[in-house]
Symmetry: C2
Subunit: 145 residues, 2 copies
Amino acid sequence: MPEANSWSDHVQNVLARAGLKRGGARERVVALLAGKPCALTAVEIEQELRRQGRLTGRASIYRVLELLVEHGLVERVELGDGQARFERVHPDGAHHHHLVCERCGRLIAFDDPGLERAIDRLGERLGVRVESHDVLLRGACKKCG
Amino acid sequence: MPEANSWSDHVQNVLARAGLKRGGARERVVALLAGKPCALTAVEIEQELRRQGRLTGRASIYRVLELLVEHGLVERVELGDGQARFERVHPDGAHHHHLVCERCGRLIAFDDPGLERAIDRLGERLGVRVESHDVLLRGACKKCG
DNA sequence: AACAGGAATGGGAATCAATCTCATCCTATG
DNA sequence: CATAGGATGAGATTGATTCCCATTCCTGTT
């Protein structure tokens, strides 16, 4: 069992520690996300679960995702195409950003200390407290470029 | 006549050069955007025009905005709240990014060469061609921080 | 200046993601 | 094992955006 499991476990721990009860919908969504490191839309999650014969209400899926995001277990990724995507966040994983390949549509994750540093300095220069930031690059990935 | 006018003129030139005809809806939207440097949603544009007694069809507003974005005359700004915002782009203006104040909701524009440099280097490091990028900071602005 | 062909417009229907409602089900606990 | 309250789900609803298409408006050409 690869790290996927450790993420599932981590989710269980965090939610249990928060005093929440368990439930089928949550377990199904978490199990699905655990096996897919890439970002999925809520609709994709619903369809994939249906395909697996694990019917899950739309409202529950959105509720679960919102909960996971609130607890920092899942990251919401917006690509500007009118639907949010969700991907698991590793407890020990550095936060990262994405490049959308405009040819193949692939989403490539990356992290870059230089970028983070630039943003920190920027916050100081502007005199604002930056609590979070999103960076989205668009271009051509290695294969398509 | 401040720069607002030069932007309107620039829009007219670009669209005329593209062989497009003129039309009322377009002129109304451009006139409105010319006077508002801040980012407006399509719905806000529709309401503002109605308030001015310059009724304009929803479809036309979206069509005009799409056209202006295609021609690089207007920038689409996504804050992740489920609606796109639009603001004019100056022909000579450096491109910029935004900070959303999570207290007052204000949108603050800024530019930062250090950030741009970091992104350029990042593209090289990753070996990808970065064609465009978006950066969105969330935090507290000077007044609220 | 009338014409023609193609753009532009706008009202309303249609989409589509996301949210809300609320009755019912299930979990963890005493 | 009874129970209080969290969790679930089907369907209705919202809200932005897009689609459809008949009508109106521009503009280069007679």
